[in-house]
Amino acid sequence: MTGVATRTGVRDLRSRRGRRRGAVIGVLIALVLAIAVASLCVGAYPLGPADVARVLAGGGEGRENFVVLTLRAPRLVLGMLTAVCFAVAGAIFQTLLRNPLASPDVIGVSGGASFAAVFAILILGLGGLAVSLFAFAGALLVAAAIYLLSARGGLNGFRFVLIGIGVAFMVNASLNFMITRADVREARDALVWLVGSLGSARWSEIALVAASVVVLLPLIAVFAPQLRMLQLGDDTAAALGVRVARSRLVLLVLAVALVAVGTAAVGPIAFVAFVSAPIARRLVPGAGLALIPSALVGIVIVTLSDFAAQHLLGDVHVPVGVITGVVGAPYLLWLLTTTTTNHTTNRSQS
């Protein structure tokens, strides 16, 4: 009798969780759509949703085409793509390294990209695509350095994080050194790059990012079940048939690649990687990885922030990364005060 009761109880719980997850994802998608429509309609040249739909379908006039297809849509699409990069990468890092603070922006991977980019801007005087290439290489190099320094008898998550923090400090100190020695105007340019900006979105660039995402996300989906088992602890995962060291390395490489692509395109949009997964996991308790909700939360944060950055501050146009912290962080703080602690993250902490 009790066996039957427990079994139905578990089934109940599962379906309740499933419904909750479905509802959260539905609401997030609705939010994304609403923000997208608003981003395409609102501006100095306002358009109705019907007009926007007509322009997107190819029936627009010269001016409408320019406003929607050259100014607003690239910005929106690039924001969405990079948000997915950062949010998913952050979720993988935090899960893999078992520390909610271990997002790529904390352990120096984004910092490596920033250092390389600021070096290119301030010391080499470069701009545009060259800066992106530097950022991409910087992220990969720093991640490789952290990995090689910490690899000793398999990847120890804690050692990886600690060494990552050390590298982050060096990278940030180098950044500060360059910024204090540069001309103040150039320092501001570097600062704008450092917080992340969608202002320079071009379709050619977006195609590159989109292609990378299309390749990387399915690969991550393939390895997600193993990540879920790794969450249970290395021994359990190994007993369940996961090749722990190899899976870790592959997942880490995929996450770093996402960060590098995103950062190269728009700069390290601040805090998206850090806050998206914790928010998603509090919205869907017990969901485990929550990669899809994390990605959606990331999109909401970035697109909402960019909308605010363009329209809510009057004539002052600021880079999107300035706003993401203000949009994402208070929400995470509010969630922390109102919801129970997520047990999976809690256990991995202690």
């Binding site: 520390n99 909610p100 603070l101 904390v106 320094l149 910490s150 000793r152 120890n156 804690f158 050692r159 994080v161 600690l162 060494i163 923090i165 050390g166 590298v167 400090f169 060096m170 940030n172 100190a173 500060n176 050194f177 910024i179 204090t180 103040v184 105007r185 320092a187 501001r188 600062l191 704008v192 917080v195 601040a270 805090f271 850090f274 806050v275 914790p278 002052v316 600021v318 880079p319 990364g321 300035v322 706003i323 993401t324 912290g325 203000v326 994402g328 962080a329 208070p330 995470l332 703080l333 922390l336 005060t337 109102t338 919801t339 129970t340 602690t341 993250t345 809690n346 902490q349 202690s350």
Partner: protein
């Protein structure tokens, strides 16, 4: 070991007084302090420039070492440092506001802004971290600290990208430096720092019990709440003082407790004692090195400490069979 460390600290202090763009013999340094001659340039350099920056280094280093040890104990997170609980971000935002809206221009004028900002941020982080179900768990404290840092940093950047003059002043404060503060600044902060240090040194037994986990600590008769409040107060006082004195110095608070653990094992009473001494050793040594490597100019202590400390941390994480706290 503790005695050796005291001697090392004495040596570093002496170096800090003697070394710089103008090298001064140890004998002359002692003369300058004991029987200064006003017309002697060496004596004036020691008294007006080197003594203040050494004292600031001593105070800020000790405060950061202690604060870091307590933070890592309370949050049970080995990554905890003043940057984590929102302290540096709070202080930085207050200083940016001070520069931008109240026209503060000198590091001495930043003191009260930095102090108020650090205290407010820590209070907010604790209030948020301890509300909701389950009280102030380590994970909630760490997350709310990092989240508040994110929010405040956004506001700071918003002000900086729109206000070039503020950026120009702020970027030099933000790297962390021991220069340009006089002893008056130190005297203002000293009472807060002392109270914080006493609280910190008394919190060792409580932290030892917290390290066993909240449930076990409670079972052994420890008031978890009281231990947390006392350590929060110590953190506010210590970090606020240090940031007010030297700017948002990174790394000292993080790396010092890890080094201290090497000497002392896992007993927090000893970790705190070692951190108290190791903090100033690290900070002053970094300051001295910063004066030497870029002669005739110098590199700020905050930058040197990161370059010096990071390889130490990395070597350390590689060598030891590290475990989480």
């Amino acid at each position: 070991m503790l005695v050796v460390l005291v001697i090392v600290l004495g040596g570093v202090v002496l170096l800090s007084l003697a070394v710089g763009a103008r090298g001064i013999a140890p004998g002359a340094v002692l003369d300058a302090i004991l029987s200064p001659v006003l017309s002697n340039n060496d004596h004036m350099v020691v008294r007006d420039l080197r003594v203040p920056r050494t004292v600031i280094g001593l105070l800020a280093g000790a405060a950061l070492g202690l604060a870091g040890a307590i933070m890592q104990g309370v949050t049970r997170n080995p990554l905890a440092d003043p940057g984590l609980l929102g302290v540096n971000a709070g202080a930085s935002l207050a200083v940016v506001v001070g520069i931008s809206f109240f026209g503060a221009t000198q590091p001495g004028g930043f003191v009260w802004f930095a102090f108020a900002g650090a205290a407010a941020a820590t209070a907010v982080v604790y209030a948020i971290g301890s509300s909701g179900r389950g009280g102030a768990t380590p994970i909630k404290l760490a997350l709310s600290g990092a989240a508040l840092t994110a929010a405040l940093t956004s506001v700071i950047t918003l002000i900086l990208v729109t206000d070039l003059d503020t950026l120009n002043l702020y970027r030099f404060w933000a790297v962390g430096s021991l220069v340009g503060r006089d002893l008056g600044t130190a005297a203002v902060v000293l009472p807060f720092l002392l109270v914080g240090a006493v609280l910190a040194l008394l919190s060792g037994p409580g932290l030892n019990l917290l390290a066993l986990g909240d449930d076990l600590a409670r079972g052994l008769g420890q008031s978890v709440l009281r231990a947390r409040i006392a350590s929060a107060l110590a953190i506010v006082l210590l970090c606020g003082s240090a940031t007010a004195l030297a700017g948002p110095l990174v790394f000292v608070g993080l790396v010092v407790p890890h080094l201290a653990r090497r000497f002392s094992g896992s007993d927090y009473r000893w970790i705190l004692a070692y951190s108290l001494l190791l903090g100033p050793v690290l900070l002053i040594a970094a300051d001295v090195l910063g004066r030497l490597i870029a002669l005739p100019g110098e590199i700020e202590a905050g930058l040197v400490v990161a370059f010096l400390g990071a390889p130490v941390l990395i070597a350390f994480a590689r060598r030891s069979t590290v475990t989480s706290l």
